[in-house]
């Protein structure tokens, strides 16, 4: 497998945006160095020829877990909503989702 290009400060800024994290300039510098160090350690596996192996995504392989199609007890809606920061009319309440005035 060809070795991937080293992570850059711009990559870290992009990833932070995707993950909805706001980083300061100095945090960007710190994280870029740290992520580069961790990814640098991963060069040992990037260099392996593993094309013949199947990936493992679960220790025993995934299987369907089925149960009888019957109604069972579930958590009360009001109890769930009680944990939310803001609710209205039996729903989770959030601010506007489009960049326009409401």
């Amino acid at each position: 497998m060809t070795e991937p290009a080293p992570i850059t400060r711009d990559d870290v800024a992009h990833v932070a945006k995707l993950a909805r994290l706001d980083l300061t300039e100095s945090e960007l510098d710190t994280y870029t160095g740290q992520l580069a160090s961790i990814l640098g350690h991963a060069r040992d596996i990037a260099a392996l020829d593993l094309h013949a192996l199947e990936p493992t995504d679960h220790p025993y392989g995934l299987r369907n877990a089925l149960r009888e199609d019957v109604v069972t007890a579930s958590i009360d809606r009001d109890e769930l909503l009680a944990a939310a920061p803001s609710v209205a009319e039996g729903r989770f309440r959030v601010g506007r989702i489009l960049g326009e005035a409401p």
Partner: protein, 472 residues
């Protein structure tokens, strides 16, 4: 301290009251936890009420169960209905889950008395509890040293004698490493042996709940109580509950033990010496011991530190200030989510979310995530091959004994190296147990690790019982 088995026996026989045992645990916490900070929350009133209910049941001639009157502590990433469950993160401060974790339901059904919630590295990401948003836990054996992590509070609660049993979670060593640092027994069972329902997810294909105890027999009994299929966890094994206590007295006559040199690579002199002493003890008890090298195991660290952050980045996307936890208000929803996550997560959690997001992103997926998943296959196959020749593998749990606060916080990679010996069992889904075996010149305990093939948790118990006997 008195073992859970002995306490339960005394309570069932009416020789000791659950209330007096619970009061003693609460008193011990009151006395010393200000210094140690093993607990984030103590459920005093509920614990006393529960103990009284158990005493009343005994009075009526009923049997409260195999953990009757035994005080237990739960890592604070296990959901407790109506009681704060923080994962040591500011983002979940004040959250009260609407349901109990299955392990808690089963402990209570077996007569145990939940005492409170223990400290951890935020979202179980760390090896020292220094990443807790609510301050670190101190090692009861030497308060200048870390207790290990991420389940450091649960390990310390047992090592300090507060409770005989606590639960932790182990994604890359988070039960076994703190057990080794605190001188107690800690076991990660086979993946799927214990329901994860109500365990706040970190890396779902690796996470597993397990016990901290002072004896191997207590670990076996606790696993028998909490193990077994749970319809609420689709990854829990369909097999009957673990039967482990029967393995306690089997001895190791004729057992084939592989002393894994990769689980000693880079270890301190005392850790190597004690692990070799453990191998000699097993040989003296009738096992055949042979050294074995499984070089693929060393690749586990890189695979783990791509796979676990990748899964975490996905699992932790749910903390967005909408359904639970803390919200930092902003007019527009995406801004609210960013402000909430930025304020709510600590540095290590942010680091792993970004690492995982990067490893999964277009252009890097094959090189990092895909390659790590294949490495996982490679390591599992290497272990399977070793188990053709050996019944169990033996090695150190950690490269060193407990380290000092601040030793590894500046360089994440140095902290991650603490997990070198514990990670392979998580990647393969295999069981592994850490048992104390001697100590270093400063009196800090050394833990040795027994690894077994998937679903052979009984072999971990079988061998650990012999090591416990040899160490006493």
């Amino acid at each position: 301290m008195t073992s859970a088995i002995d306490l339960a026996q005394a309570v069932r026989a009416g020789a000791r009251s659950a209330r007096s045992i619970t009061e003693a645990a609460l008193e011990a916490i009151e006395q010393r936890d200000g210094e140690l900070h093993a607990f984030l929350d103590v459920h005093r009133a509920e614990a006393l009420a529960r103990a009284e209910a158990i005493d009343a049941a005994v009075e009526r001639g009923e049997d409260p169960g195999p953990l009757a009157g035994v005080p237990v502590a739960l890592k604070d990433n296990l959901c407790t209905r109506g009681k704060p469950t923080t994962c040591s993160s500011k983002i979940l401060e004040g959250w009260r889950p609407p349901y109990d974790a299955t392990v808690l339901t089963r402990l209570v059904a077996a007569g145990a008395v939940p005492i409170g919630k223990t400290n951890l590295d935020e979202f179980a990401m760390g090896s020292s509890t220094e990443n807790s948003a609510f301050g670190p836990t101190r090692n009861p054996l030497d308060p200048t040293k870390v207790p290990g992590g991420s389940s450091g509070g649960s390990a310390a609660a047992v090592a300090a004698g507060f409770v005989p049993v606590s639960l932790g979670s182990d994604t890359g060593g988070s039960i076994r490493q703190p057990a080794a640092f605190c001188g107690v027994v800690g076991m990660k069972p086979s993946y799927g042996a214990v329901s994860r329902y109500g365990l706040v997810a970190f890396a779902s294909s690796l996470d597993q709940i397990g016990p901290f105890t002072t004896t191997v027999a207590d670990a076996a009994r606790t696993l028998e109580v909490i193990g077994g299929h749970d319809p609420m966890d689709a990854t829990s094994l369909l097999e009957p509950r673990l039967s482990l206590s029967a393995a306690l007295g089997l001895g190791v006559e004729g057992l084939r033990v592989g002393l894994c040199t990769d689980l000693l690579e880079g270890a301190s002199e005392i850790v190597i010496a004690q692990t070799r002493a453990a191998a000699a003890a097993l040989e003296a008890a009738g096992a055949t011991v042979e050294e074995v090298a499984i070089p693929e195991m060393a690749l586990g660290l890189s695979a783990y530190y791509l796979l676990a952050p990748a899964e975490a980045s996905s699992n932790l996307a749910r903390y967005d200030g909408v359904r639970y936890g803390v919200r930092v208000e902003r007019a527009e929803v995406a801004e609210m989510m960013t402000a909430t996550r930025t304020a709510g997560f600590g540095a290590e959690v942010k680091r792993r979310i970004m690492l995982g997001t990067y490893a999964l992103s277009a252009g890097y997926y094959d090189a990092y995530y895909g390659q790590a998943q294949k490495t996982r296959t490679l390591i599992t196959r290497a272990l399977d091959a070793a188990y053709q020749r050996f019944d169990v593998l033996l090695g150190a749990t950690t490269p060193t004994t407990a380290f000092a606060f601040g030793d590894k916080t500046a360089d994440p990679m140095s902290m991650y190296l603490s997990d070198l010996y514990t990670i392979p069992s998580n990647l393969a889904g295999h069981p592994a147990i850490s048992v104390p075996f001697g100590s270093d010149a400063d009196g800090l305990p050394v833990g040795v690790q027994v690894l077994a093939p998937g679903r052979r948790d009984d072999r971990c118990i079988q061998v650990a019982a012999v090591l416990e006997e040899a160490n006493s």
